[in-house]
């Protein structure tokens, strides 16, 4: 986030704003002049209560929504053969994030083919590798999403995103729907992947305990405006803004002190 590392930013967002127009003529300002950036290989958390615009910001970065104003500069070298912009996204709902009519393996094959992997043997070994990297195995390749648990589905969704070798992976409340033990598994998995590759995360969450565990830097959004930005530990330990303090106080586990994961 500091000026001297600006050259190695995977994502640089400046002055982002988004206005949703309703059909009745009304307009709602979801984002107003929000700027943030993600260093290569780091994890930026976006926190705020629901309706604060964090998902909208993530969707604009992903390219699923268009911004009303501002710039999104993506500094992601495209892998050879890739058809995407270098950004992938894992969604909140594990039950909607996989095609229910497609077996896990054939879905991965389809993505790899799209990604330019022509030879079937290459794809097959890559599918196994990807499933192993998210703690699943070949047995799961033949299964359909309906026979997988929520945590397994979310891990498949992560494997699908990783298959495309994105420079930036957006996790939009990706672990919020999972129960605590599965959540921990997936978070550990994400940390491991970050160690092994140069991937960067944009981590959207309302769960400050999780944010503390996974992110290096974070920004706090309130009603579409940026209220605080900086190192995660600094912000969570000594918030400068009353809104941030209120968010921290709202964590429903009084006295609970999460320890930062030692990477």
């Amino acid at each position: 986030m500091t000026a001297d590392t600006r050259s190695d930013l995977v994502l640089d967002v400046k002055g982002l704003s988004k206005i949703f127009h309703s059909r009745t003529g009304g307009a709602r300002e979801a984002l107003r002049d929000v700027s943030f950036s993600v260093e290569r290989g780091s994890c930026l958390a976006v926190v705020g209560e629901s309706g604060s615009g964090k998902t909208t910001a993530a969707r604009i970065v992903a390219g699923l929504e268009t911004a009303s104003g501002g710039t999104v500069e993506l500094n992601a070298p495209r892998p050879a053969g890739a058809r995407h912009r270098g950004v992938q996204m894992v969604f909140q709902d594990p039950y909607g994030s996989l095609d229910p009519r497609q077996a896990i393996g054939s879905g991965l094959h389809e993505l790899l083919k799209l990604h330019g992997m022509r030879r079937k043997a290459d794809r097959t070994s890559r599918v196994t590798e990807l499933l192993e990297s998210v703690g699943l195995d070949e047995r799961h390749a033949g299964q359909h999403p309906e026979s997988l648990s929520g945590g397994q589905r979310q891990r498949v969704a992560i494997a699908r995103a990783l298959a495309l070798e994105p420079a930036l992976l957006i996790l939009d409340e990706a672990v919020s729907a999972l129960d605590v033990s599965v959540q921990a598994q997936v978070l550990n998995l994400l940390a491991d992947i970050r160690e092994q590759t140069a991937i960067s995360y944009l981590f959207v969450s309302h769960d400050l305990g999780v944010v503390r565990q996974v992110s290096d830097t974070c920004i706090v959004l309130q009603d579409g405006r940026l209220v605080e930005a900086g190192r995660t530990a600094d912000i969570l330990d000594s918030p400068q803004q009353p809104y941030t303090q209120a968010l921290i106080d709202a964590v429903p586990r009084p006295g609970w002190r999460p320890r930062r994961r030692t990477a």
């Binding site: 995407h84 996204m89 969604f91 994030s97 009519r101 990604h115 699908r160 995103a161």
Partner: protein
């Protein structure tokens, strides 16, 4: 008969849907048996359905003619069996046309959303206001009576029924994470639509096509009944109901009764089957 059926209402469908598994099996068996007859009917007919025999005209059911003969001495059983093919071919084509048009329109408008979806929705509402048999009659008047004029007209008229149901399902699927993540992966809209959206709305398409088949059969028979569809002496159930009217007044109701019963039974079987499939495919209504 067609108009009243279209107005039969959601309450009836709910009742059909609530009947459970035995109704599914029974209606599927009945619909399957009738469809089989439509395929092999002309081959298993004991007599030539168009062979007249003036000496055996207007006979009551007997060992030779199980359902009797009509005023021209044609075997009613043979005409009912052979006529099943044309009676089914019409609605089958109607359902095929409306399914292809309706599904494509629904997925297209659900995919693009915004003003395209609103325009499509308005178009569908206008099309809903158009009575099917009337358009089929007009079509026959313009293009000439026969098989294709009413079939094409009814195929278009049935499109909004398919499109409305599929559209609501497709809109729901459109914003599922899996569709958006395929977009992010760089897959073309066309490919996502064909390979991922279409298979996921297919259960509701099949259910709605089954519903549509029942009403389409009734409408097609109605058009033939008023003389603008299949033409006598060709065997078709609507034509048979019409042919039997004079005999009905002479106290020999077999022909009208047989053909009419077949139409009613077929429509009921397909409607129950459609309702059953619909509740099992997670669709509304």
């Amino acid at each position: 008969m067609a108009v009243t059926w279209a107005a039969a209402g959601i309450a009836t469908r709910r009742r059909f849907a609530a009947m459970g598994r035995p109704a599914l099996i029974a209606s599927a068996a009945a619909a399957g048996a009738l469809a089989l007859v439509a395929v092999i009917g002309p081959w298993i007919a004991p007599y030539d359905p168009n062979a007249t025999d003036v000496l055996a005209a207007g006979q009551d059911p007997s060992a030779q003619h199980l359902l009797g003969t009509d005023s021209l001495g044609r075997d009613i059983l043979s005409r009912a069996l052979a006529g099943a093919r044309l009676s089914f071919a019409g609605p089958a084509m109607i359902v095929l046309i409306s399914t292809v048009l309706g599904t494509a329109l629904a997925i297209f408008s659900a995919w693009h959303g915004g003003w395209i979806d609103r325009m499509a929705n308005r178009l569908l509402n206008v099309m809903f206001a158009v009575p099917g048999v009337l358009v089929a009659v007009l079509s026959s008047a313009v293009f000439g009576a026969g098989f294709w004029a009413p079939v094409l007209a009814l195929g278009v008229v049935y499109t909004p029924y398919m499109a409305r149901v599929v559209r609501s399902m497709a809109i729901r699927e459109r914003h599922q994470g899996y569709v958006e993540s395929l977009q992010l992966a760089g897959m073309s809209s066309w490919r996502i639509g064909v390979r991922h959206l279409a298979p996921n709305v297919m259960p509701i398409v099949v259910a709605q096509a089954t519903y549509g088949f029942g009403s389409a059969l009734a409408d097609f028979a109605a058009v033939s009944f008023i003389g603008l569809g299949i033409q006598p002496p060709q065997a078709e159930w609507g034509v048979m109901v019409s042919d039997g009217r004079s005999e009905l007044l002479d106290g020999a109701p077999q022909q009208t009764l047989v053909a009419g019963t077949l139409i009613v039974v077929t429509v009921i079987a397909f409607n129950i089957l459609g309702a059953q499939l619909s509740t099992r495919s997670g669709g509304r209504r």
